[in-house]
């Protein structure tokens, strides 16, 4: 009983601040205004009246979608770091866990850049700023996973996740994707265990969110592996074990050979069955869109409870979705292809 009262000692202010940031997430009317824009300059004008304010004010040169995306991400990083630098104890560790998924993406991005002989500077510019770690430039010396680990990753927080990945094979296309999924599986399971260790409302909220993340990855890995050379045993090793599908559903997914069989697996779970069915609305949403929608729903639900760390995770995820939405609308506006401009995912009323 008192543990929830103790929450406010270290994290009460930060929770209030995080909820303030969440209040600034764009609403339906904001999106309506954005979709009415004719040019990117209009978009910038409309964004000025939201929480984003004058973030594009100092942009020299013509406004492009990539510039807008960069500035949006920058704003998210500034807010996240503001919260992170003031966090202590469990909260600090929790927020670090949030950044690890971006680190994994950065590692894989740099590796694939090396594979295609891209200059390291160009790849570094494309990395997600939330996942920076030291020695990022040193990745280009790695040709096998063992070298990668010894040279670069052993000093980063990703080191324990690499245990399953180390072998002497050379890095190629297939291996890089396998590395990504193996790292992510280890990360999700570790994060889930950490949240269970914190206990209380945090464990409850994060359990739901991370379970969906795990199941979603299991589905996507299965569907994307149809038609590739990935063996079923190898595929099974990539499924995270912290979701609702574990263990029975994952067994069935590992045996699946076509989308129909994946649908059969999803039928066992009420929320997932709905996503695989055709909803009668006529709008053709892809499976990924439906996953994003469900993720947004779960993350908004996290804000319904107080005194837990899940709000920080959900804030980052919702802001990310918002950035994806704005970039989608900006693309439609700049290419004057307004047919699918409504295909963003609404977050708040």
């Amino acid at each position: 009983m008192f543990s929830e009262s103790m929450f406010s000692v270290d994290a009460g202010y930060l929770e209030g601040l995080a909820r303030g940031f969440k209040g600034g997430i764009l609403k339906k009317t904001d999106y309506y205004n954005l979709t009415q824009c004719e040019t990117l300059e209009d978009l910038k004008l409309h964004l000025q009246s939201t929480d984003y304010g004058h973030f594009l004010a100092n942009e020299a040169g013509p406004l492009t979608v990539s510039v807008i995306e960069e500035r949006l991400k920058e704003k998210l990083i500034i807010e996240f770091n503001h919260l992170r630098t003031q966090a202590t104890g469990y909260l600090a560790e929790f927020m670090d866990y949030i950044t690890y998924s971006y680190m994994i993406d950065n590692v894989v991005l740099l590796l694939s850049g090396i594979l295609h002989d891209r200059p390291i500077k160009e790849m570094l510019a494309k990395c997600h700023p939330m996942g920076t770690f030291e020695q990022m430039e040193a990745i280009h010396i790695a040709t096998t996973t063992r070298e990668l680990y010894d040279a670069v990753l052993v000093d980063t927080p990703l080191a324990p996740y690499f245990a399953d990945c180390i072998n002497e094979e050379d890095l190629n296309e297939m291996n890089i994707e396998i590395i990504r999924n193996t790292l992510y599986k280890a990360y999700l399971e570790d994060f889930s265990a950490f949240c269970q260790q914190i206990g209380g409302t945090t464990a409850e909220v994060m359990q739901e969110v991370l379970a969906f993340e795990a199941d979603r990855r299991a589905f996507m890995i299965t569907i994307n592996s149809f038609g590739t050379e990935l063996l079923k045993e190898d595929r099974k090793k990539l499924y995270p074990a912290c979701g609702r599908l574990y263990p029975g559903g994952l067994e069935m997914l590992a045996q699946a050979e076509e989308v129909e069989q994946v649908k059969l697996v999803a039928d066992y779970f009420a929320e997932y069955r709905v996503m695989f069915e055709d909803d009668g609305t006529g709008m053709d949403k892809t499976l990924e869109d439906k996953f994003f929608e469900h993720e947004v729903r779960l993350n908004v639900r996290a804000f319904m409870q107080q005194f837990h760390y899940g709000v920080f995770y959900s804030l980052v995820k919702l802001k990310e979705q918002e950035i994806r939405n704005i970039v989608w609308i900006a693309e439609c506006v700049s290419q004057r292809h307004r047919a699918k401009i409504e295909a963003y995912i609404p977050i708040l009323e």
Partner: protein, 175 residues
């Protein structure tokens, strides 16, 4: 093993003063938990919504009231703790003093624990009120009603404690 003899060995002064100590300290503990819970949320919410800063100080006042109840009872009880001469006291006076000691202890416990839980409760509700107010200004008054009910339970503790100490007296003339 005679528990009765052991209990009789404890002086009524012990019980009475323990009552004073527990009464004030548990009340202050409850008030403190309440104030930091609400205060941290007001500070956090007030960054993006500065308008909530002044209105939500009412929640802090409710928490503070809880500590004030504690100090009232502590003063009432401690001024009633009067010297009596154990050696020359009659059976009746002795019994009256022991009764007073127990009553003061119980009153201290009553007001202490009631205020402890009241303070925690008002703190959690006040925190919710601040954060809800930051998102939607019309919610504050509604949640304030919940807080008023929450602070009423602390008042119950004081009332019962007053009743417990109403007709008891220590001292040589006690009966």
């Amino acid at each position: 093993y005679d528990i009765g003899a052991v209990l009789e060995g404890f002086s009524p002064y012990l019980w009475a003063n323990l009552g004073v100590g527990l009464g004030i300290s548990l009340s202050v503990l409850g008030a403190a938990i309440g104030i930091y819970t609400t205060g941290a949320s007001i500070l956090g919410g007030g960054v993006k919504a500065p308008r909530i800063r002044t209105k939500n100080l009412i929640s802090i006042i409710f928490c503070e009231a809880v500590a004030i109840y504690g100090i009232i009872m502590a003063i009432v009880i401690s001024t009633s703790v009067v010297h009596f001469d154990e050696a020359t006291a009659s059976e009746k006076v002795l019994r009256a003093n022991y009764k007073a000691g127990y009553s003061f202890f119980a009153a201290g416990l009553t007001v202490g624990f009631c205020n402890l839980f009241c303070g925690v409760c008002v703190g959690v509700v006040g925190s919710g009120a601040a954060l809800a107010d930051a998102q939607n200004g019309t919610l504050f008054v509604k949640i304030l009603i919940v807080e008023i009910f929450a602070s009423a339970i602390g008042l119950f503790g004081v009332i019962v404690a007053i009743l417990q100490t109403a007709n008891v007296r220590m001292g040589d003339k006690a009966d």
